[in-house]
């Protein structure tokens, strides 16, 4: 796999809200994802308490934190698999206000769908369609939703399957694949829709330890090629290798954020330190 070199947009002062201090990393582009004041209740349970987050083009952001801290819920709020209770979500210029009272209205549903076309998602348990071959999994949405001709969708899909190293599995059914292979197919399937940002929800948590590496390698390549991505993960080594920025969440708010070296080696907040201590010395 050849990693295309990232563009150098020069040193710029980091604007507030970018999550950086001083200068912005040179390869980051404009704001691609913007979350404003996201709150989420599950019944009485206040899981997100006003989260603001900006993610820029070509940025790889890793969300870390204890389970129950709200990081997965936050990720799912971006493509409205969970409708936020309050707040604004913006992806690639499409701005959508949370509206749980109108969540079933046709217009809101259509806007959510447009949001989902911009934000591809990867799941902990892959969720490949078991009744379809690998290739059919990859071309289903492009042909049926984007209206792309079958031949074109197939060649795009073959390109991405090759990229994740699974072109020879194109005619297999998901049940014949290992967990790592399934997740790589899921990544190819998401890429086929050419999303603006990829959302990863603990993509390696359901994998046997020896299969984690192959998935992380694909994700690392994507990050180094400048794919905009937001990753909920417990793989701190991976965060160090591939993240531009690490965001630590606790009790439904962002506690601290910054470049991985700073976050993982010299965290400032007590909560971050506590989390890392427990995490690094099991």
């Amino acid at each position: 796999m050849t990693a295309s070199p990232l563009p150098d947009l020069g040193a710029r002062p980091a604007p507030s809200g970018s999550g950086y201090e001083g200068t912005l990393p040179a390869h980051l582009g404009e704001v691609m994802v913007k979350l404003e004041g996201i709150e989420k209740y599950f019944g009485d349970n206040h899981v997100l308490r006003g989260v603001n987050l900006e993610v820029r083009q070509r940025e790889a952001v890793m969300l870390i934190g204890r389970s129950g801290s709200g990081k997965t819920t936050l990720l799912r709020c971006i493509n409205f698999l969970e409708e936020p209770t309050v707040g604004w979500v913006e992806v690639d210029g499409l701005r959508l206000q949370a509206d749980p009272l109108q969540a079933r209205s046709r217009q809101h549903q259509e806007q959510i769908r447009q949001m989902r076309l911009r934000a591809g998602m990867l799941f902990q348990d892959f969720n490949l369609f078991p009744h379809m071959s690998v290739l059919a999994n990859c071309i289903e949405a492009p042909t049926r939703v984007r209206g792309i001709a079958r031949d074109e969708a197939v060649s795009t899909a073959e390109g991405f399957l090759d990229k994740v190293g699974l072109l020879e599995k194109r005619d297999e059914y998901p049940a014949r694949l290992s967990g790592g292979q399934k997740q790589r197919v899921a990544i190819a399937r998401a890429l086929c829709m050419e999303p603006k940002v990829l959302l990863f929800d603990e993509p390696t948590s359901a994998l046997d330890p020896e299969l984690i590496g192959e998935v992380l390698r694909v994700m690392e390549d994507l990050a180094h090629e400048g794919t905009t991505m937001i990753v909920v993960t417990h793989e701190l080594h991976f965060a160090r290798e591939a993240a531009d920025r690490v965001v630590f969440m606790e009790d439904g708010v962002v506690i601290e954020e910054g470049p991985p070296e700073q976050m993982l080696d010299e965290p400032r907040e007590e909560g971050t330190k506590r989390f890392l201590r427990r995490f690094l010395t099991p």
Binding site: N79, L81, R104, Q109, R113, Q114, R116, L117, A119, G120, M121, F123, D125, N127, L128, F129, P130, H131, M132, E140, A141, R144, V145, Y173, P174, A175, R176, A186, R189, A190, M193
Partner: protein
């Protein structure tokens, strides 16, 4: 002798043991099949002889009238059952979508339908459609009336099967499809329903077998199916019991044949799951 040669010495002993184990297992399987077949055969002979004596039938009646019952009746039985299972399946899919709808109108209609047609006897429904609907100006010939009653009745039961099947598809499947931007209608048609169908095939097959036999009830509204033919021919030949036994054999044979195909279908549909 060194340790190495000791472990080598064990190697030739393993192969015969493995072969013996395999042979023993093959033998056990063969004995099981043989006993199984023998018991089936014995039971058929006993039951057959018993019913033969009980019916007091003579061979001539069986040889002359038997084929008539089979040829005329079984064809109509298969026709009625196949049409009814087809329409029942359509009703069941629609019913299940209604039962799962968040819109109160289809939901209420579907649950009312299920309640009414599961809550009243099939025989009564057959009578009602054939004898009562004409009072409202809806006159159905016997076969369409029978097919309609069987479809509506089994459609109600199968609605619940399909509903459970749709709900048994893991929620992650729907989420993954929605996350790809696939519109709700297509998510159901392309992702959820195909998986639900696989889940419900055994239950639907079971219902089809039940329907093959319940189709005998439409004999009461003069559909010339197996039981009707058996009763008519049996009466005129003064061999009512023998005719009934022939009809029973027809139903049984049909279900055996259908079970065979059902098993093959299940195996084929399971392909993606392994």
């Amino acid at each position: 002798m060194t340790v190495g040669s000791g472990s080598e010495a064990r190697v030739p002993q393993v192969a015969p043991i493995v072969a013996q184990v395999l042979a023993a297992r093959r033998g056990a399987r063969r004995r099981f099949s043989a006993t199984f077949a023998a018991i089936w055969l014995a039971l058929i002979v006993v039951i057959g002889a018993g019913t033969w004596i009980a019916s007091g039938a003579d061979l001539e009646f069986v040889l002359v009238s038997g084929p008539v019952i089979v040829l005329q009746g079984a064809g109509i039985t298969i026709l009625v059952s196949a049409l009814a299972i087809f329409f029942a399946t359509i009703l069941a899919v629609l019913g299940a979508l209604g039962r799962l709808s968040t819109n109160p109108i289809p939901n209420a209609v579907a649950s009312f339908y299920v309640s009414l047609f599961r809550g009243t006897p099939l025989l009564l429904q057959i009578y009602f459609i054939y004898f009562a609907l004409p009072q409202l100006g809806i006159v159905l010939p016997a076969i369409p009336a029978g097919v309609a009653a069987l479809s509506l009745n089994y459609g109600a039961y199968m609605t619940e099967i399909f509903r459970a099947g749709i709900q048994a598809v893991p929620p992650g499947q729907r989420e993954a499809a929605e996350a790809l931007g696939i519109p709700e209608r297509l998510v159901m048609r392309r992702i959820v329903l195909p998986q639900a169908v696989r889940i419900v095939i055994p239950a639907i097959g079971n219902d089809f077998i039940a329907m093959l036999k319940d189709s005998a009830l439409v004999s009461t509204i003069t559909v010339h199916e197996t039981l009707f033919m058996a009763q008519r021919i049996g009466r005129s030949a003064f061999e009512p019991i023998a005719a009934l036994i022939i009809a029973g054999a027809v139903y049984w044979t049909l279900t055996i044949i259908f079970s065979f195909f059902q098993e093959r279908l299940e195996r084929r549909l399971a392909r993606g799951d392994r």
